[in-house]
Symmetry: D3
Subunit: 114 residues, 6 copies
């Protein structure tokens, strides 16, 4: 299975495990996520860039992959992605570089598979 | 080997490597850990919940697994575990969700293997 | 004004500013907070200890003060508070000590003022 | 002096102290910052939102204030600012709330003084 | 009172409060700190640089001040301090800059007062 | 392939991917890294210890491995490495232990392969 498909199916499988627990707080956090990234005063495309840079500086590979997938759906260009990643790397420092490496590789995979 | 056994044997193997170095500071940090989680004014079960939530908000998968194992030994119910994880996820934000996913899966493995 | 009163009135003033913005996501996050710390499978007193240790390892003075205030209302003893703080300090390391200092001072203020 | 003026003059005074040291690495980091936030494939206004959300999830009050100032110059509306802050708060969790409080207050000050 | 004196006396006052609690784990963490920074295979001067860079990337102003004080006692030159701070700033990113500003100012105060 | 070789070739492969993007900010961050760790007022060997401790407290396995490799080239003894890791573990807390385990194992691999 491709890197993208593997990530997405694993994510879906475990989200179902979490939501099946019927914990109200966890369910609402998941709902809020959908809400926060919906079209508003700020367009969805920009919001996904916000999600990407926040995930990168907090150094969460899975979150970076998820938002890269959303950015891909929103039609971001290579240059736009690179500029978001560059800002994240400057703010977050060289400690972010290993996550940048994996992000760049995942972005290439997203382009290849589409 | 099961996920639980694999985690525990790898952990033990590398702890022996560390303690074999005879570095006094590292040895004492390991001893302090035993000390801090021993029965005191706060019961062991509650202390393990504290260890779990702290590990989750700091986003350390191995630490989460270790404390989930201890919580399992202390007889925590599913609901108790879910409430600890929910608090950790609320305080730590959605950046914690990938760790929550792996925590939920590991908890299921702990229940299956016992 | 005392340290406790000053903290609480400032917190209330700015919470009102935030909630007055009518941003749905922010309002729901505030509601979730009330929800997550309500009596459940885990009693309120234990949940406040969880909130305290999570706030300490994440090194947020205001969050530590808030949960110390809640722990005080829940009747935690000195020994219980010290054990929570000790666990937080061990897990989070000596980088937590400056926050531990301010936490200890605030706990004393809470006891004096009640 | 107003909160905004005080922040800006203190920031400028200490930047001069740093740049006066003639450390090449530090000077270049400062230059890179100007570079990364300049108009590119992504417009300046969006880049400043990226800087704001990254600063918020990393919980740096001074960085939040700086980027709020830049967002103000770029003409962000209240709703846009609130949506950026909401995304940061959701991703970063309730541990971010004290920084959200101070951000909201500073945004009001920016609007008052302009 | 000077910035240095104020920091040191406040630190001492609150350390006494903590140690007066007689919590064994906390006392031992404080002892370990003395131990870890004592002369060993690595000389004290180098160890204090390690403490400084670790404090800076973890963005703890009080810890940075403490280790700057120790570096001053160990006779570090301006250039040495600047190089440690530059490495910390590069690894930790521009989010570290506000702490760098306060560190630079405190270093000047240490030199003035000695 | 050995653990060391695998890490190094993967790192090189992805660095090339990043640098091939021709993003000016990212390229300069990579250049700055070479610059900051070059011989200066502080010798290279000490700078690599600074890089190691900063990477450890920020809990980045790849960064720890990279700086361990550099420390090995600089001829650090076992005792010196252990003391750096002990300081990092004390400052960063027990949450660092899983990274300490992997660091110790990688250090052994470096010694075996040379």
């Amino acid at each position: 299975m491709s890197q993208v498909k593997e990530f997405e199916s694993e994510r879906e499988r475990l989200n179902e495990l979490i939501l099946g627990k019927n914990n109200k707080v966890l369910k609402r956090i998941f709902n809020l996520d959908t809400n926060a990234f919906a079209e508003g005063a700020i367009p969805v495309k920009t919001k996904e860039m916000l999600g990407l840079v926040a995930s990168l500086v907090l150094r969460c590979d899975d979150c970076v992959k998820y938002h890269l997938g959303q950015c891909h759906k929103q039609g971001l260009s290579d240059d736009e992605v690179n500029e978001v990643l560059a800002i994240g790397n400057l703010i977050g420092g060289t400690i972010v570089i290993p996550h940048l490496r994996r992000a760049m590789e995942y972005w290439e995979a997203l382009k290849t598979e589409s």
